[in-house]
Subunit: 231 residues, 2 copies
């Protein structure tokens, strides 16, 4: 954990983060008080049930947000990435509701509650953006819920591959990319077993939709993959 040297004002992700409409003077406040932190993959940023002292803004990397699910089995709710806000979802006792773990090496800025609350109070724009953000997130999780409830495992695996490719910034690129998610992680993303993920990956390979070996994943045929996922 170290103080950030770079300024918020010149930060490359400023315009895709929750602070895009933050007034200049408050960005300077954050500059002075924030912590710039690095988490190597596998490290947990947030633990479900712990006290929420502030929020994280992801400047680079991929973070999986997850909860202890049914019969203690983990479930991955979301893959957050550059510009994403973590740790704002809390219960009445100001405890985190959702865990967050770095899926890739990740850089974040940590803003303490005191400053973040002040900004929300004094910046209508940021507040509105946050509400919009909640609205969007609600819609997304709704759609995800429906898909999880209604689709077959094959369809869900295809969906997960698309979700992952999106989180890893491959917009429809057919280039191979490295994913540090185990088959079990992918299963926990859709509520199925690691074996089913493996089997469906094999199927997709023989159908020439993807190639995959080890951590390398490549989507060869987006059109077909989307067809399988019913998108």
């Amino acid at each position: 954990m170290e103080k950030q040297t770079m300024s918020c004002i010149t930060c490359s992700i400023r315009h895709c983060s929750i602070l895009k409409n933050c007034r200049h003077e408050f960005l300077e406040l954050i500059d002075q008080t924030k912590y710039y932190m690095k988490f190597t993959k596998g490290h947990q940023l947030i633990r479900e049930g712990s006290a929420a002292d502030g929020v994280f803004v992801i400047t680079s990397g991929v973070v999986k947000t997850h909860v202890k699910g049914y019969r203690k089995r983990p479930f991955i709710l979301h893959l957050a990435t550059t510009g994403g806000l973590l740790g704002y979802q809390r219960n009445e006792q100001k405890k985190h509701q959702v865990s967050a773990t770095a899926a890739e090496d990740t850089h974040v800025c940590f803003i303490e509650n005191k400053e973040f609350d002040l900004i929300l109070q004094k910046n209508v724009g940021v507040r509105e953006d946050l509400t919009r953000e909640f609205n969007k997130e609600l819609s997304k999780i709704h759609m995800r819920t429906v898909r999880l409830a209604q689709m077959s495992v094959r369809e869900k695996v295809a969906d997960a591959v698309l979700l992952i490719s999106h989180a890893y910034g491959m917009n429809n690129s057919t280039k191979p990319f490295t994913v540090n998610l185990s088959r079990e992680d992918i299963g926990d993303l859709i509520g199925c077993t690691k074996e089913q993920v493996s089997k469906n990956f094999s199927d997709f390979k023989s159908e020439k939709v993807i190639t995959a070996s080890g951590k390398q994943l490549q989507i060869v045929n987006y059109k077909k993959l989307k067809e399988i996922a019913g998108v």
Copy 2:
């Protein structure tokens, strides 16, 4: 659709609605501008994709919120009830994201955007409550997502029965109550077929957990039902 005669200030649900922290002067504004409406069961209050002109506060009844899901199959996201807010979830184009249909005869107050936005702007308390509300809703849908993704159909049916009994205000009461939801609706609540709902109801009956005939539903053994649902 008719003007409300009763005042917001003396409204019985005022303290359990989103307006519990609304300042007096603004309640009077709503009083003058709101519409009091009645919807008989089966009638649709909100249609997914339509323009969002305002919000609804449920004063009595039960409303199912639903979306067109995977391959056009409906999915019921939530059973909203007295005090609930409907229609605030919108996309960038101010279109409703979620449909709402009365599951029972329902009374609502309709507040137009202009007034509701003004209240949000001028009442810190209401704004904070709304954020809290979003937070809570997000948590709830997260938990629901996990359960839908990880549980078996038997478990999900048990869960649905508990969800319904909660929506119908039976807190752990073993009295019979009338539910105007078809078996198919219940299936759409958890993403399974009506036949599976029927079969599991039969199982629960022979296990002496519930009794059900027609629209009448009765939870005989909450403890066992909760065990089945893994709560």
